[in-house]
């Protein structure tokens, strides 16, 4: 047996990163999820574009980002897949005997999920932009890329989808079962908010503002946000508050998952 003399033996974070990258790209479901997310986002934006009326006063950017409603499910699934993948097929034994400190793996997964989600979100944004070109022209909706507010919505759309992916990773790594993690993710991100919206009040509006779905505010233009803040009985979050809430969920879930990973047996 020959020793494959490596330059510097041992586990380094960049190596763990490279390993996780190889893993994510070597299963087909990753590609399907990315393609499916982009298609779903663009299709929804196109479908909504069919109902655009010239006098509606809607902004062009709000039509482009309207696909977020389905795209968020795509990046959620991506995150959950990365977070639960090790456990649902048993590769965690191999992974964590190679990296016994464990936490670098979770961190690497978070980074890689964010990068893939970023690429997915940018793809979804471009696809939505392209498929709605004709509709925006006919409806008189302009997209001015020199306008700060427009750029904010487009950039925040990407930030939102990346945040949702990391939340998905956190839930997945914490619960370790894909089915349970997906159901939890959908409930927390979409369904609870909708249920609470039925009974507006100080308590329900506050809870809604603190759910991760609050991050969807990132995709709304300033007029919509002002209108939302005017009607809520809970905290008024402004354009960035929703993003902060989503970010806190992502970090909190990763910390909880890291705690479980670090403190408990892997059997």
């Amino acid at each position: 047996m020959t020793v494959a003399a490596p330059t510097r033996p041992g586990v380094t974070f960049s190596r763990v990163l490279a390993a996780e990258w190889t893993k994510l790209l070597s299963v087909r479901s990753t590609l399907w999820t990315v393609v499916g997310t982009i298609l779903a986002a663009a299709s929804l934006a196109f479908a909504l574009g069919m109902f655009v009326r010239p006098d509606s006063g809607q902004s062009g950017s709000s039509l482009i980002v309207s696909g977020y409603l389905l795209a968020q499910l795509g990046t959620l699934v991506l995150g959950v897949m990365v977070g639960t993948g090790e456990y649902s097929v048993g590769t965690f034994r191999v992974t964590f005997t190679a990296v016994p400190r464990r936490l670098p793996v979770l961190l690497a997964q978070a980074l890689i999920t964010a990068v893939v989600a970023l690429a997915t979100a940018v793809g979804a944004l471009l696809a939505s932009f392209l498929v709605t070109v004709g509709q925006r022209g006919a409806g008189g909706l302009t997209v001015d890329l020199t306008d700060g507010a427009t750029v904010r919505v487009l950039v925040d759309y990407v930030c939102f989808l990346v945040g949702v992916a990391v939340v998905g990773l956190g839930i997945g790594a914490l619960l370790r079962r894909p089915t349970a993690a997906l159901v939890t993710g959908v409930l927390v991100l979409v369904v609870f908010d909708h249920l609470l919206a039925v009974n507006p009040g100080r308590v329900t509006d506050t809870v809604r503002a603190l759910l991760p779905g609050s991050g969807a505010r990132l995709t709304m233009d300033d007029a919509t946000l002002t209108a939302l803040d005017a009607t809520t009985l809970g905290p008024q979050l402004g354009p960035w508050g929703g993003g902060v809430v989503l970010g806190l969920w992502a970090v909190g879930l990763l910390i909880a998952a890291g705690y479980r990973l670090r403190r408990h047996d892997l059997a």
Binding site: L44, A47, L48, M50, F51, V52, R53, S56, G57, Q58, S62, S66, L69, L70, L73, V77, V80, S88, P178, T179, L182, V183, V186, V190, V191, H194, L195, V198, N199
Partner: protein, 292 residues
């Protein structure tokens, strides 16, 4: 096997033959029942369904009990926005359980004709779900009792179409378990099946409604009927399993704006189609393809 003098009986039974005839349908059903009831997740989901049904109904009835024209019976169905989820997941787990855990090998070597297994899963899931649905509906009734008491309203569950509502609720809940089973049996992969079923029943209606809100201008004057986007969305939402199912629980409401009025029976038929079509697909896949 040459037993030395079979003195006790005139004929020695062949080895392993306990009672002949092999895998009859009743035995397959018994086997599936054992599988369903030996999993902890079945009972957890059942308990969650009943609990959610009670809690949402209780909260909703309490919240609206301050309204002037409060009718506690109108809160009966408010748990249905979430309570079908548990039974649907239960159905998915029955449908995919064989494949996600690899037990299908032993199952289909025991029942090589395969289809009886699927039929037995339908029977078993329907029976289990019906019991859970009855409990969940009972819990919903209990949920409105305190609110009715606070306004000193006598609950009459026998009049005014209420029995129909209760029956519709039960069938809707049980139907969602079968829908889950059908999707699970078709897709064979529990995560995929759960995502699909949850998306179709829960997420799509919400997304479509939010989307139609985005594309409609609330300030626009209501000319004649709802705007086109809303009509399309409402039609789609009505034809989804959850929309069709809720029609079964609202016999006296003639559908939602812009959507075809199907009535409770029509709603039941649409939900039935959502069960039967994937189930037929699953049967074809089971029968025509190798299971590996």
């Amino acid at each position: 096997m040459s037993a030395p003098a079979a003195s006790s009986a005139t004929q020695v039974p062949a080895r392993g033959r306990t009672a002949g005839r092999g895998a009859t349908f009743a035995r397959v059903v018994a086997s599936e029942w054992t599988k369903l009831t030996s999993l902890r997740s079945s009972f957890l989901l059942a308990a969650a369904t009943v609990a959610v049904s009670w809690a949402l109904t209780y909260v909703s009835a309490n919240a609206s009990s301050v309204d002037p024209g409060f009718d506690p019976l109108s809160s009966l169905t408010s748990g249905l926005v979430l309570s079908p989820l548990g039974l649907m997941i239960l159905g998915v787990l029955v449908g995919t359980g064989e494949f996600s855990t690899g037990t299908f090998r032993s199952t289909f070597t025991a029942v090589p004709r395969r289809l009886p297994v699927l039929a037995a899963q339908v029977v078993v899931t329907a029976a289990f779900a019906l019991v859970v649905a009855l409990l969940a509906v009972g819990a919903a009734v209990l949920g409105i009792v305190p609110a009715a008491g606070s306004r000193e309203i006598n609950l009459d569950l026998t009049g005014d179409g209420t029995p129909l509502v209760l029956a519709g609720m039960t069938l809707y809940l049980a139907g969602m378990a079968l829908f889950g089973l059908a999707v699970g049996a078709l897709l064979r992969h529990s995560a995929r099946a759960v995502v699909t079923a949850v998306t179709v029943t829960l997420v799509l209606p919400i997304v479509l409604m939010l989307a139609s809100d985005l594309s409609t201008d609330p300030m626009a004057p209501a000319e004649s009927g709802p705007p086109p986007a809303e009509a399309v969305v409402n039609t789609i939402v009505t034809l989804l399993p959850s929309g069709a199912g809720s029609l079964m629980t609202t016999p006296d409401i003639s559908g939602i704006e812009g959507a075809p009025d199907l009535g409770p029976w029509g709603g039941g038929a649409v939900l039935g189609a959502w069960i039967l079509v994937p189930l037929a697909g699953a049967a074809v896949r089971l029968r025509a393809r190798d299971v590996t």
